[in-house]
């Protein structure tokens, strides 16, 4: 964005971080997890990442740049979107899937609504879910695509501390959590959302997830649920996108809690591995409503 119109409420003080700096920081925090995924899963994962990032950048260049004469490629948002799309996909998908997902994310979910800041759904989530529902079989995790560079084979569960093979960016929950922690300490991500997300996800999992297996109340398997990579990716990187989340502490807590509760329902009763992504996309729609909950009071009282 070149010179954004000043349309924020007072105070008009500016702390410094530009859109580009924020986007690049988030991308840098996500990069270790993506790199680890590529190392473990091999060249196929690298191809998926390259396809997603390339399609995202090209889409932004073609529509915002060539058609609208707004050269927004430099704000880093297209790069981050491509990276997030790539990270949220399994490495075993055919190459056209990350390309279509990233192109849909940028062209339909973001630019059709007026560009960065006007999109009501996280673009990367929109693209990811478009391919999930369009090609349910092709976009599903299909295991190890080929030998990785590290010669280790991750377990077939969705994420664990260092090796799992759901989404390629979610192979290592540890690296995702480290990146997310950096975002939280720099206050780029609001802590309320992941905190409420985790609490509202863990509590019902612990209390009720044992029921479908006939084990009774408070027997849910907490550890695999909380260390799942797609949960960490959604809670730390997707649910904290400043554009598509509410402002104000109460609204953020409610937003995170909604994400957590829906993730629980979709994961335990819907059996969907991408449940956290779906939950966040669903809660994105409620942001305008939630913002009425806790509108931040202006400085100096009301």
């Amino acid at each position: 964005m070149t010179t954004p119109a000043l349309s924020a409420p007072a105070p008009h003080l500016h702390a410094g971080p530009s859109t580009r700096a924020l986007m690049l920081t988030v991308a840098a925090c996500l990069a270790p997890a993506a790199a680890w995924g590529a190392l473990v899963l091999g060249p196929a994962a690298l191809l998926v990442l390259a396809g997603a990032v390339g399609a995202s950048l090209l889409g932004e260049l073609a529509i915002a740049g060539l058609a609208w004469r707004r050269w927004t490629l430099g704000d880093g948002s297209a790069l981050l979107t491509g990276l997030l799309v790539g990270c949220s996909l399994p490495a075993s998908v055919p190459l056209f899937i990350p390309i279509v997902a990233a192109a849909f994310a940028v062209a339909v979910v973001k630019l059709s609504f007026g560009g960065l800041g006007r999109n009501w759904m996280n673009p990367a989530l929109g693209g990811r879910l478009f391919v999930t529902f369009s090609w349910p079989v092709l976009a599903a995790a299909g295991g190890q695509p080929g030998p990785g560079w590290l010669r280790v084979s991750p377990g077939l569960s969705d994420g664990s501390l260092l090796g799992g093979s759901g989404a390629l960016g979610a192979v290592s929950t540890l690296l995702l959590v480290l990146g997310g922690a950096w975002l939280l300490t720099r206050r780029i991500a609001a802590w309320e959302i992941p905190a409420a997300f985790a609490a509202a996800f863990a509590l019902p999992v612990w209390a009720l997830a044992g029921l479908p297996a006939g084990e009774g109340v408070f027997r849910g398997d907490l550890l695999p649920a909380l260390t799942s990579g797609s949960f960490a990716l959604a809670a730390l990187f997707m649910a904290t996108d400043p554009v598509t989340t509410p402002k104000g502490r109460a609204a953020r807590l409610a937003f995170g809690a909604g994400c957590g509760a829906l993730s629980f329902l979709l994961r335990v009763y819907g059996g969907r591995p991408e449940a956290p992504f779906l939950a966040v996309a669903f809660m994105n729609m409620f942001v305008p409503l939630l913002e009425r909950l806790g509108r931040p009071a202006g400085k100096g009282g009301r």
């Binding site: 056209f96 059709s112 529902f133 369009s134 090609w135």
Partner: protein
Amino acid sequence: MSEDFPRVLWRDNPLLISLAGLCPALAVSYRLSNALLLGAAMLFALLGTGIACGLAERVLPPKFRLSVRLLVASALVAVCARFLSAYAPALAAGLGLYLPLLAVNCLLLYPTGGRPLGEAILEAMGRGAAFAAVLALTALVREVLGAGTVTLFPIGSFPGVWRIPGLTPARVLVAAPGALLVLGYLSALARRQGRGRS
């Protein structure tokens, strides 16, 4: 009237601008044959309503206009629905509830006010044709991209379904979100076109 057709097609398109008749359009436009059939039924009902009501309104007091239109439109749509379920049950089943529902949309699309008979009929036909055209276009896009087929009516040795080779269709487009996506983009295009000309 001929220069008015582009206006009805783009700037006053019932589906794209006034968003009238969305319900059947969204529900039925997953297959081209359905859309063509529904468009034809709409045209037939509008034409019949136009002629019958145009003649009747010459002798009826204005306060009966709406009730007469309602009666005529629903009778014609019922005839249409019965005819189709008798002679083409498979096609009628594809349209389901949305065929009888056309009566409401027929009323919505029928031009208001006391116009001369010929003009009212032409206007009604134009709107019906615009509705049918947008419906067919939406269905074509959705079916080709979402199912990889083009479904027409089986005639002779032609089975009615033409499968496009080498395509991995995106299933979202034949599901409900696809209808909203395609119609949304068409609507945006029509609004843009209308803004440029007015």
